[in-house]
Subunit: 392 residues, 2 copies
């Protein structure tokens, strides 16, 4: 083995990325050891993980769930921390060699920042942190000498294409999008889709929030923003192309017109493992990609009329400042309302656009400004007609 990370902390270990991370870590045990596992409320799953994998400790955000954990696993030898402060303590543990940030949504911001301020190497699966506070995060990473490694399949593809290349030779990123389950829906049809339709993603099995974001193309917009912050590339040099097969995970064009692409069958195991082993590669028993069997890889322009979320994300990135935070918070509230059948699918971009237009803009928000703006956006939407009553 090379000088690979050994003490792995998984923030959000009971989610989709978290459980797949544990899968990889187990395969490379005892070289990889688990330091902290954390969750929000799913303590039953966490207790199973803790009793099977013996981490150094666990941290549970929800205080009530934290008490339940102690009843579920009274014999647990490791440390047990509660609340957001507990997650931040786990994230900033100086014994961490690698922190996988795999929490869902804005809840990942504070623990991920704790890991950044400790100068850790961080696998970033929580893209909302970069959407909400990309500038604050990248500046902190520079200041505290933290390393942010992309875990999204698209950003992992870009990272792999950039290995060994001079950053000055980059001309353009081309981020691929499956197009989601409603790619071929008319505007009329989009008015009638339900949460259960949105959760049936054609290629990827993911959590509910990201699956809805994928169906609105907001997820792709978030990835454009994340790519900008992670790799320092201008918005104007980041394109999106619809690629329904999800085989090419993204492409990088260089100044000589050469384009490099990264391909694989759709699976998050590969980008998760690559983040852990970067810049090395270790064997992973993926089913081999047989291009002749796949037959065709197809491409289309994205349609921002039917899917305005992609346009809104580009606009928020252009606006800068607090716009990304409002974009993300409004989207989280709207997606939650859609998942609980309170609003229609096509209301999601309307709610987000209204929030972007109406919530006061800050050009240079601090971390505490970001937290306040996130809270304000959620409060205004939750008490305001657009979410409560738009399901007419």
């Amino acid at each position: 083995m090379h000088s690979l990370p050994r003490n792995i902390t998984v923030l959000g270990s009971t989610g989709s990325i978290g459980t797949q991370t544990l899968n990889i870590v187990q395969r490379f045990a005892p070289e990889y050891q688990l330091r902290w596992l954390t969750c929000n409320t799913k303590v039953e799953d966490l207790a199973e993980q803790a009793s099977a994998l013996h981490p150094y400790g666990v941290a549970i955000r929800d205080e009530g769930a934290c008490k339940r954990f102690k009843n579920l696993l009274p014999d647990f030898n490791g440390r047990v921390l509660c609340g957001e402060a507990g997650l931040c303590e786990a994230a900033s543990d100086t014994e961490n060699d690698f922190v996988m940030s795999a929490m869902v949504g804005f809840s990942g911001v504070a623990p991920t920042m704790a890991a950044v301020e400790s100068g850790h190497t961080i696998g970033l699966a929580n893209k909302e942190t970069m959407v909400s506070a990309g500038k604050v995060f990248t500046e902190a990473a520079r200041k505290f000498d933290a390393t942010l490694i992309a875990v999204d399949s698209e950003h992992s593809a870009i990272l792999q294409c950039l290995i060994g290349e001079n950053p000055n030779a980059i001309a353009r990123f081309i981020i691929t999008a499956s197009g989601g389950p409603f790619r071929s829906h008319t505007s009329e049809q989009l008015q009638h889709v339900r949460a259960s339709d949105a959760l049936a993603h054609p290629n990827w099995k993911m959590g509910d929030k990201i699956t809805v974001d994928s169906s609105t193309l907001m997820n792709k917009g978030f990835e454009v923003i994340e790519a900008h912050w992670l790799f320092g590339i201008d918005t104007s040099r980041i394109d999106v192309v619809i690629h329904p097969q999800s085989i090419i995970h993204s492409l990088v064009e260089f100044v000589d017109g050469s384009i490099k692409a990264q391909l694989s069958l759709p699976s998050m195991l590969l980008p998760i493992q690559y983040a852990l082993t970067y810049p090395h590669r270790l064997p992973l028993a993926m089913p081999p990609l047989d291009l002749a069997a796949v037959g065709a890889l197809t491409f289309e322009k994205p349609d921002t009329v039917r899917f305005p979320c992609l346009r809104l994300a580009y606009e928020a990135l252009e606006t800068g400042g607090s716009a990304g935070c409002v974009l993300n918070a409004a989207n989280e509230v709207a997606v939650q309302a859609f998942l609980s059948n309170q609003i229609a699918f096509i209301e999601i971009p309307r709610i987000v656009e209204e929030a972007l237009n109406n919530i006061e803009h800050l050009s240079h928000p601090s971390m505490s400004d970001i937290l306040a703006i996130d809270r304000e956006t959620r409060n205004r939407l939750l008490w305001n007609s657009s979410v409560q009553h738009s399901h007419s």
Copy 2:
């Protein structure tokens, strides 16, 4: 500019790759200067190049043509060398910083070896050298500390995909083939194709010899052999896939199942420039690749029943020793006979297979053995019924 090569010698400057190399060198003048230009017989073209570009000298293989050059350009200030010895002198000039080996066929072997034995950095566009004498060439390159840089679009794609990667992490090469103009022909239809049909390649404008090789898939077989020698990869780990659009130029699969690909619109300018600037990149005004406009990239398994040359090349590589030399020599004779309408298209693989079966095999041929086997193969075919009388 980085520490890029400055004194460029172009062996075969009047051919397709040669003239495109001059195009690139001119764009980067005065950082790049022309040392030697060489040709076989096309002294009219060479005289034009010499009078426009002022190389240090020229070398002309054909002795009669060499005399014509002096009449065509009596005022030429540079040196003029004649015969194969002249080409070898130009190739081994200690002032060369980069030698582009762009001669056609086996005629490139001796001058390219002269460049290798001088420890130069060599752009290898003449794949017949590696097919005929891959082992001798790679051993000589190691001994004399010469660097061989692939110029074929496929090998350039592999080289670009390997930048920054650990060679031990390579799992497989996937070399793409356009399939040529007869990709969809039935065996029956293949019996009636003529040289003029073969010269109408769908994607690439190249010299006649390589265009016919592309239509038989022998060119792809040669590339498999070249990839084996250039990158040290087992035959069993080199696959070929038909990709009619010629947008993906080849792919590399790694041990973690990740695949990297290099794409561009079909143009040899890119791989030529990459060889000159490797491992750097300089701007090249290529038309941008619009994947949505391309629409689909398709893939098929190659058919070695209709196109036996690909199978013969794999077999020759497995056999090793002098088999590659026989494969190449028999193919050159057969293609020449086909181009002059002496034999049918489907005779090409038959002639090559017969030569492989009948000409004595040497397991560890030296360079002089290779030269002798090449001569013997040509003589036996030229005086033997298979080429002279197979056009029935």
